[in-house]
């Protein structure tokens, strides 16, 4: 048993879903996502027992490309995040009816497949293929099943596609250059060669463009809010919950170990850029009238902090980044799910048309409240662990940057509570709002359970990822 | 027999063929008549041929002259096809003014 089984499960799942027909598609997809999750858990267990779960097969001889999948703490925790969130996302969409559901669910599973592939790849070429492959399903999901006016949606989605695609082409150039130098696409080979500072700088920049657009870091973020708003909620969850983590993961796995010198030299610039995104996103979130856009900007703020932590090049920063990626993945999926429930009931994304929901829905309110609180990193939620480590790492670098980054604590509370107040509180809304059903609530319970459990006892995850991060750190400081 | 190059010098041939080539270029740019342009191209080809022969003599190597044969064959083929194309054009447009051939505008 090695990590390739996860990929195979998802790929078979995508095919099976497609052939299951519209009626059964969602159930088959759910089944396979749960199976994939179980397989991942089993693999994690194997790794914990000290077994080697990596996978290596020669693929193409010339150019030398191998089918190399790496299974260490870092990649597997991300795969675990992907498979668990995929299951939750599919669960969350069960209530919706989509036209051509078989394609929709098949695309979701296919996207999960591509993202898992991205996390697992240890070969640059393979990694690039998976990286680009993941873009295709989300493009169709957002384009075909999205909301809003068709023309505007098309424009935004195509902008997103071209934008991210253009960014990753620079990454491809970097890979080809590295291949010229090493004669191999293997991650290990890349991190072993000695590049001059100038070469490292250009490679770093090429990677940075790809990742900065995907994360997104300001000023490369303009695609984000519109796509989050227009995509169907499942697509938004996939994008914000997992896909942008691909980029942060890639920073830790590829960018920093391959080109550490510029990361050290320009550390302050990078961190300030990321932290500026935190403040910028938070302040913009304050002004949003659209629920999904507000969440999009809050996501911008949070991932800015995560990226800043990763760029501190400290163990705390990297670990905080990984922990916060997981925490943010769950919380943002939960928040978008809550938004989806409200939008499904009220058929609008305008905050001004909501309000007075709490009085009708005690259960939903409590769950939403917990998610909001987790999102503002209340202690004893998982997000606090991540945010604390991130801010701590920033404070070790420079206290003032930590203060600036810490404004997310204030501003985050400001816009989230403001949103919560406007959406949920107040006199009873004229439009009826049914409380969540058991099926709807289950996804919430799962998310909240994860957030609270690991908020108090994050040790399993910390122990799981720390060796891999220490390796990365050794490579960075080689 | 005394060799010609001892009396004339290779550089004179180089100058000659350069100038001849330039005349050909000038002709191609200067005229609108496609047939005259063809002729200019022939002039350029001949300039090159001349140079090839001159160097063939200089190196006392037959390969240069052999190459000129091939070049002639190619020139003949080119003229045959080119003129056929011109005829076809003439049939359609009733002239062979190259400035009237602007259908391939971007």
């Amino acid at each position: 048993m090695d990590v390739s089984f996860i990929l195979i499960t998802l790929l078979i799942g995508a095919a099976a879903t497609y052939f299951a027909g519209n009626k059964w598609a969602s159930k088959v997809a759910l089944l396979f996502s749960v199976v994939a999750f179980a397989v991942t858990l089993y693999t994690v267990n194997l790794l914990n027992n000290g077994e080697n779960v990596s996978f290596l097969k020669n693929w193409i001889r010339n150019p030398r490309i191998t089918f190399n999948l790496i299974g260490d703490g870092l990649s597997l925790i991300m795969v675990l995040l992907t498979t668990s969130l995929t299951a939750i996302i599919i669960l969350a969409t069960l209530k919706n009816t989509f036209k051509n559901a078989k394609s929709f669910y098949a695309l979701i599973l296919f996207m999960a497949f591509a993202m898992v592939g991205t996390f697992l790849s240890a070969d640059g070429f393979l990694y690039y293929i998976f990286w680009e492959l993941s873009l295709i399903p989300i493009y169709f999901i957002a384009l075909i099943w999205g909301g809003g006016e068709a023309e505007a949606r098309k424009k935004d989605v195509i902008k997103f596609f071209i934008y991210t695609f253009a960014g990753s082409l620079f990454m491809l150039v970097a890979f080809i250059y590295l291949y010229q130098k090493t004669g191999s696409f293997a991650n290990g080979a890349f991190t072993r060669i000695n590049l001059t500072d100038k070469e490292q700088f250009w490679i770093f920049l090429a990677f940075f463009l790809a990742y900065a657009i995907k994360i997104p870091i300001i000023p490369f973020h303009t695609w984000q809010a519109n796509v989050y708003q227009k995509a169907p909620s499942a697509g938004t969850m996939l994008l914000s919950g997992i896909m942008l983590k691909m980029a942060i993961y890639s920073i830790i796995r590829w960018q920093l170990p391959i080109a550490p010198a510029p990361a050290k030299e320009y550390m302050n610039v990078l961190i300030i850029l990321c932290v500026a995104g935190v403040i910028y996103g938070s302040i913009l979130a304050l002004k949003q009238q659209d629920l999904k856009k507000l969440l999009a900007y809050s996501s911008l703020a949070h991932v800015g902090l995560i990226a800043a932590g990763a760029y501190t090049l400290t163990l705390d920063g990297l670990r905080g980044a990984v922990l916060q990626m997981i925490a943010h993945g769950f919380v943002v999926v939960g928040l978008f799910y809550a938004a989806e429930i409200i939008i499904r009931r009220y058929n609008t994304t305008e905050i001004s048309e909501m309000g007075g929901i709490r009085i009708q829905t005690p259960r939903f309110t409590s769950m939403f409240m917990i998610l909001v609180l987790a999102s503002v990193a209340l202690p004893a939620t998982f997000n606090f662990i991540g945010e604390f480590e991130l801010l701590y790492s920033l404070a070790q670098t420079n206290v003032w940057i930590a203060v600036l980054g810490g404004t997310t604590i204030i501003l985050g509370a400001f816009y989230m509570l403001r949103m919560f107040q406007q959406v949920m509180l107040g006199e009873q809304n004229a439009k009826p709002f049914a409380d969540v059903t058991f099926g709807e609530g289950f996804a919430f319970v799962a998310i909240i359970g994860v957030l609270l459990f690991f908020g108090l006892y994050p040790k399993p995850i910390i122990d799981f990822i720390t060796p891999a991060l220490e390796n990365t750190l050794n490579l960075i400081n080689r | 027999m005394e060799n010609i190059l001892q009396q004339i010098g290779i550089e004179n041939y180089i100058y000659l063929s350069t100038l001849l080539f330039c005349v050909g270029v000038f002709g191609v740019l200067f005229r609108r008549n496609a047939i005259v342009m063809f002729m200019s191209i022939e002039i350029m080809l001949n300039a090159v041929n001349l140079l090839l022969v001159a160097f063939s003599t200089y190196h006392q190597d037959a390969a240069g002259q052999v190459f000129v044969f091939f070049s002639m064959a190619v020139a003949a083929a080119e003229v045959a096809v080119g003129l056929a194309i011109l005829v076809a054009i003439y049939r359609n447009l009733n002239n062979i003014d190259i400035d009237s051939l602007k259908k391939l505008k971007g």
């Binding site: 934008y163 303009t222 404070a395 | -």
Partner: protein
Amino acid sequence: METKLALLLLLAPFIGFLINVFAGKKLSGNLPGILGTVAVATSFAVTLSFFLQVSSSKEPVMIDLFEWMQLKNFKVNIAFQLDQLSLLWLMFVTGIGTLIHMYSISYMHDDENVHKFFAYLNLFVFFMITLVMGSNLLIMFIGWEGVGLCSYLLIGFWYKNHDYNDAAKKAFIMNRIGDLGFLIGIFILGYLFHSLDYTDIRTAIESGKHIDPTWASIAALCLFIGACGKSAQIPLYTWLPDAMAGPTPVSALIHAATMVTAGIFMITRLNYLFDLAPEVQNIIAIVGAVTSLIAASIGLVQNDIKKVLAYSTVSQLGLMFLALGLGAYQIAVFHVITHAFFKACLFLGSGSVIHAMHGEQDMRYMGGLRKVMKVTFITFLISTLAISGLPPFSGFFSKDEILMTAFHHNKPLWVIGSVASIMTAFYMFRLLYLTFYKDFRGTEEQKKHLHESPGLITFPLIVLATLALVGGAISLPGNSWLNEYLAPVIAKQSEHHHMGTTEYMLMGVAIIGAFIGIGLAYAKYIKQSSVPGQDSEITGFAKVLYNKFYVDEIYTALIVKPIYALGSFFKNVTEAAISGLIFGLGKLANVLGTEGKTLQNGSIGFYLFAFVLGICSIIVYIFLAK
């Protein structure tokens, strides 16, 4: 066994919370309230046993559960510490908590969401216990933010009213500003000491290890900012008066007796750190004194009974911070305890009054309640005397100690504190007179319904009034049980004031001051029977005071508005500019294509020229340009 007991102490309110959240709706009548009260009472009982154990053994109980967080230099465990300080705090948190829960059963029993109320209240007690019990700063931070959350939930308990929601939000956000300071302080401490455990930090300081004094001062300052947020000091105090939007028991428990004293707890907890930073202590003292004066002056003219009490709370907290700043931690703690007694009593009393008045909080429509509400009146009177600082009530001892210390260290601060005390005496008696004396000024309808509150309400009042009466006994001048009890947790021993002439004179001055305040109130509200006029009639400086020095308006203009303006700027200008730039790149490609298309104009002659030029440049590049 100790671990289990401590966990019971901690988790009993949490279990109460869980039951009330999940099953509260199905529980009928007073059951949710009784459940909540029992949960807190359990904690109180356990606390009492620990208290007795630790006071005799003098050994703190340490409980280490499991590893929580891992940082490069150190680990943070979920661990608890029951020492003299935390037990003292737990005593009055759970004790007063129990009383207020009991009170709430009656006070809230008409509310449809009563189970939620008790759930939140239990949750608050749980977090407060966490805050107090934690053995490191991060556990304290869990509690710290947790009580902030509960405060938010309880202030906005009546969530249909957006004003209340705004007040709740304001409280949470203002607290968060302080929390950021707290967090930064934690970061610096982690950097300095490689640990966040109190014991480790104390050992490191006392072992004389060299610690960068600048960073230590900055850390202390940051922590103080955190304390400012939670304990409502300048400049972060404005949330507390607004927080009175919550139900009265909440104001009593959270916004008077327990949560707002968390800042004092934290500074006392880390007294050895603050001793390292005398300049920060100075700042604390000055902030405390100024806060007490300003809050007291605002309190002079407020008409809402709870608002007066809120400002008085801010003012008293300021006095406590004054004591902290002067390094007199025991005295600050002493005042926290006495204040908890009398202020809880005052709030509960005002709740009783509001209950009787059917929700009316404006003192201008009260009066003469003395005749109907005997118990409430007497308990209220005792507490008022206590807060005004008249012997032998508890407030006298604690307040006098603070002023005495101030006199010894810093005369201007003593003056400020004394003036604040006189004001306190004035506005408290103004409150008392307006509410309980003279004739009733409300509607006939209200008058008919005036009644003494039921036993569940009066019982806590009586208990608290008794404590307010005798609470001073724990630290009598010259023979202080409290000082001895707290000695192990406070690094610097407080200097013993020799009870000489100066001291007695100071006491006399304080008492005279109190009498002046009372006399002024008496002259104005009993003799002249004056009743504060309508809002529009207030003029001059009183208007400035009535509008709280316009601090809220200034904050709005200076901070909130600019942030929104910045948001608009970002939204309308920056976003458009950046996205325009990106679109511009796309447009550029488009334009280049369109324009470049015309280069392909179909003219063979033109192509030939280009061709010749190209050849020329290639030749030049290859052969000539070297």
